[in-house]
Symmetry: C2
Subunit: 205 residues, 2 copies
């Protein structure tokens, strides 16, 4: 990784731990292994580093969103996946979603950074909403909608059903961000959540 990217990487780590205002350019430089003034050979200002991070992440997420849509379409085409969706599959789906959000390193640090910075800036608030609130909900809604079409799950209101699926995942995620020691408990709770979700909305009802 070249210095330019190392700077973004280390800055993101620090911003996610302490927030923009509590990180000094000297801290970033030190982590990168250079002196503060040298940063300015790469970025015009501290603010510019922050903005580069946001821009970079925006780009990544856009790509990822595109990939997910393709995935979604594939899944729709191959609806056999959903016809054979068992409780175990559903647990797997939720776990995968959760672990991706929890452990993907960029995602995790960026989410923590946005959590801290969201109230300073409308744009960041909107970004947080989009990435961690609205987009996952709409993606999950699409998948669950297909499962409902296949008859594996039943509901009059897919939107609320999706909320019932995703809100606990989001809740557990924020807990783990705050306190990674609770991760094992969160994973176990996640499984119980999804099994109960399946029983509530599933055929046996």
């Amino acid at each position: 990784m070249d210095t330019r990217h190392r700077i973004l990487d280390e800055a993101l780590t620090l911003f996610s731990e302490r927030g923009y205002a509590n990180v000094y350019v000297g801290d970033i430089a030190e982590r990168v292994g250079i002196k503060a003034p040298s940063l300015y050979k790469h970025y015009k200002s501290k603010r510019a580093i922050f903005e580069a991070i946001v821009e970079e992440m925006n780009k990544n997420f856009a790509e990822q969103a595109k990939a997910m849509q393709i995935n979604g379409r594939d899944a729709a085409a191959d609806s056999a996946i959903y016809r054979e969706m068992s409780e175990e599959h559903l647990v797997g789906l939720g776990r995968q979603l959760f672990l991706y959000y929890l452990h993907d390193d960029y995602n995790k640090r960026f989410r923590k950074m946005l959590t801290i910075e969201q109230f300073h800036d409308k744009d960041l608030a909107a970004m947080y909403s989009k990435l961690y609130v609205d987009d996952p909900l709409s993606y999950q809604g699409m998948l669950l909608g297909m499962i409902v079409s296949s008859g594996m799950l039943k509901t009059d209101d897919v939107e609320i059903m999706t909320l019932h699926f995703y809100a606990p995942i989001y809740y557990l995620l924020t807990i783990c961000d705050r306190d990674p020691a609770r991760e094992p408990w969160a994973l176990e709770t996640l499984d119980r959540h999804i099994r109960q979700f399946d029983r509530l909305y599933g055929r046996e009802r």
Copy 2:
């Protein structure tokens, strides 16, 4: 309200909007209607103001928790309330909980401040978890447990049931904190959530 309290009040407002590091003592003073150096007649330092807020809130919440326990005991004694718990009652309960958290002014500002500051400090993270994650869950768990005992709702796993009740409320709350314009939508969604919750766990199933 005396100056000492006015300082805490205005500081809390500012900290909740911008976070500790982005608020200058001059800003606080200006809001209070005095000059920055005069603040030091009341508090030893900027940090001391922050700490006084946290301490004050801790005290308030402790009192409130005690009151809720008393409430809880009363409710347990008078379990008729729960024997006659209709869907409308449940909607009312959820709405009340939600609106209290959303609109109680101290609560709201303090929650936003903790959201911003939680990653700087273990103690603040613990406080956030307690106030907005664990305590509400355990309180709601107690109430739902009583409703289950009364036979109005059925489940094998009250803990997950409580998660299913509270996580969507928490999720909607964080959305409104970020963007108050979504409040009407959140309230409507909240009602639909609780009605569906009632149908899922309720007798009709």
